[in-house]
């Protein structure tokens, strides 16, 4: 048994920056209710966390707290991604001053704490740390969804999210408990060693445990059949929170699934693949088909995010390090596409929330419509956007793993999904406007949109340039 030392803390610098900022925000909460100070502080913290995470040791993986957490290429990738998500979400949260506001300091503190949980989930090497990190993320998420307590639909969305979330946590925990019982450990490396050493490949209890853990994590990424919360939560939450959840929660869940699948249950890859392939098929099918009938933009994006969870899982079904890095690439580009699409919704305000609000947007605001078109093309997966390169790598990895029917299904559903996104494009470019010209964006929202659009374009034109550091666990 070893106790923690200062060098252990060096593994957690990005998380410590975020938590420190949370504490300062809470201390100053009374003073910064009205000023945009909270947003600026959160933005600085997010950038600092991203930079320190990105600069972390290149010399090799480093382990802290007796094997509980690690800094390696994999965790660094996700920490930078989460920091970017946080920064964009903070920018998107900046409102026009006349709009009603949730308590600013608490809102940003919860965003930062949720991001801390996401980062820890990506670097956890132990089931216990993973569980606590995911709980930290989801508990903050429940509150963020319901933070506008005066809106009945926000209450309702938060309650549904909370009920299903705590149910899923209980399933995840039961799976962890069984894994602990079967392998005698909670550390990923020890679990893998125990499974290799004792030949438990066909042990039914272990299969139950894998199924339960996969279900619990599938909830976090909103994969079918654990998706029921997503449309309600995204629709009921304010748009910036929905964007943060769609991007961050998904990235963290995929990071955890990837690490567990490739490290802890390495010898069980076939069982894990079978479960993940099933989740992927259902998610892609249901997400693509149900999105066709949506008229609420946030709900449409929610079903789109369900379908995208399915595409991202395609990489993990391969059960190989290459597959895991394909999924990481997908998660990376997806985060920016979806934050961008939500950003346009946010910029349009009330009007952006229903599909009809997009009628004739191109005539009124050509720039805004063009940016939206870019994100829609990326979500469909049309070259030369990042959406194409992302889909390409995951489908390729599914083919390499021998899941050819799955790959064909993914391609077909991509074509179907084109109808969903092009419906919005048609409304923007080929219909007469019915509503007044929307007001100009807040500067912060424009900045976030520019960043997201740049990543989406660069990722499409030079696919290797941004994702080359997607190192598998």
């Amino acid at each position: 048994m070893n106790s923690a030392t200062l060098s252990d803390l060096s593994v957690l610098v990005p998380e410590l920056i975020l938590v420190g900022t949370v504490l300062v925000l809470l201390l100053l909460a009374r003073r910064i209710q009205t000023a945009p100070v909270a947003a600026v502080m959160s933005l600085i913290a997010a950038v600092a966390a991203g930079v320190t995470a990105g600069m972390a040791v290149v010399s090799g993986p480093q382990i802290g707290f007796g094997g509980m957490v690690t800094v390696d290429g994999y965790s660094r990738f996700f920490k930078v991604l989460i920091a970017a998500t946080l920064a964009l979400a903070v920018l998107l949260s900046v409102r026009r001053s006349n709009e009603e506001q949730a308590p600013r300091a608490e809102y940003h503190a919860l965003l930062l704490l949720a991001s801390t949980g996401m980062m820890l989930a990506g670097s956890a090497l132990d089931l216990l740390v993973l569980y606590l990190a995911l709980e930290l993320m989801t508990l903050c998420a429940y509150v963020l969804v319901g933070i506008h307590v005066e809106r009945p639909w926000a209450n309702e969305a938060a309650i549904k999210y909370f009920l299903l979330g705590s149910f899923a946590s209980a399933l995840l925990l039961y799976g962890m408990s069984l894994t602990y019982g079967v392998t005698g450990s909670t550390g990923f490396a020890d679990i893998a060693a125990a499974l290799f050493g004792r030949g438990l490949e066909t042990d039914p209890i272990l299969l139950v445990a894998i199924g339960l853990i996969a279900s619990g994590l599938a909830f976090k990424i909103a994969a079918v059949p654990f998706h029921a919360w997503a449309p309600d939560a995204y629709q009921g939450a304010s748009a910036p929170v929905a964007a943060f959840l769609a991007a961050g929660s998904k990235a963290a869940g995929l990071a955890a699934l990837g690490r567990i699948g490739v490290v802890a249950f390495e010898s069980e890859a076939h069982a894990m693949s079978a479960v993940l392939a099933g989740l992927a098929v259902l998610s892609i099918l249901l997400g693509s088909i149900v999105a066709l009938s949506q008229t609420d933009m946030k709900r449409l994006l929610a079903y789109s995010s369900i379908a995208h969870a399915g595409y991202a899982l395609l990489g993990l079904t391969a059960g190989t390090p290459d597959g895991a890095s394909a999924t990481m690439t997908y998660a990376f580009f997806y985060v920016f596409m979806t934050l961008g699409a939500f950003g346009v919704v946010i910029a349009l305000g009330e009007r952006g929330e229903s599909l009809d609000g997009y009628r004739g947007l191109a005539a009124q605001r050509p720039g805004m419509a063009l940016v939206m078109l870019l994100f829609l093309l990326a979500l469909t997966g049309i070259p030369p956007t990042a959406g194409f390169s992302a889909k390409f790598v995951v489908i390729l990895s599914a083919v390499r793993a021998g899941y050819v029917p799955l790959a064909v299904l993914a391609v077909v559903c991509s074509v179907v999904s084109a109808f969903i996104y092009m419906r919005v494009a048609v409304l923007m470019y080929m219909r007469e406007p019915r509503e007044a010209v929307p007001p100009a964006f807040p500067v912060a929202v424009s900045a976030a949109l520019v960043v997201a659009a740049l990543v989406t374009v660069i990722g499409g034109v030079l696919p290797g340039s941004l994702s080359s550091w997607a190192v598998s666990p």
């Binding site: 216990l128 508990l139 509150v143 209450n155 009920l163 149910f167 962890m176 408990s177 019982g181 005698g184």
Partner: protein, 101 residues
């Protein structure tokens, strides 16, 4: 060990099943939360059983953290219920129709 680990695990599985049934069948938010608590108790029971069987304290530590998180969840869950109740009295999931279920 005088209490066989298998019996503890069997009991925990049965309690977990009861909790799952309660969560899926009940239509009252508070009782759904109570069902989740029953599930968490079942998990803790299995953790304590494994801990004893393996002669390893980790199971008990994990159970302690589960209790801590359950307390946090209860705080937030009931806060949400109170906020909902201010807007709309009565706490049945069946009433939650503002958004599609």
């Amino acid at each position: 060990m005088i209490v066989p680990v298998g019996a503890v695990l069997g009991l925990s599985a049965i309690l977990f099943g009861i909790g799952v049934f309660g969560f899926l069948a009940r239509r009252n938010i508070i009782l759904m939360l109570v069902s989740v608590e029953v599930m968490l108790n079942a998990v803790n029971l299995s953790l304590a059983g494994f801990s004893r069987h393996l002669d390893d304290p980790r199971g008990q530590i994990l159970a302690l953290f589960v209790i801590a998180v359950a307390a946090a969840e209860a705080g937030i869950g009931l806060g949400l219920v109170i906020a909902l109740n201010r807007n709309r009295p009565g706490a049945g999931v069946a009433d939650l129709t503002e958004l599609k279920w």
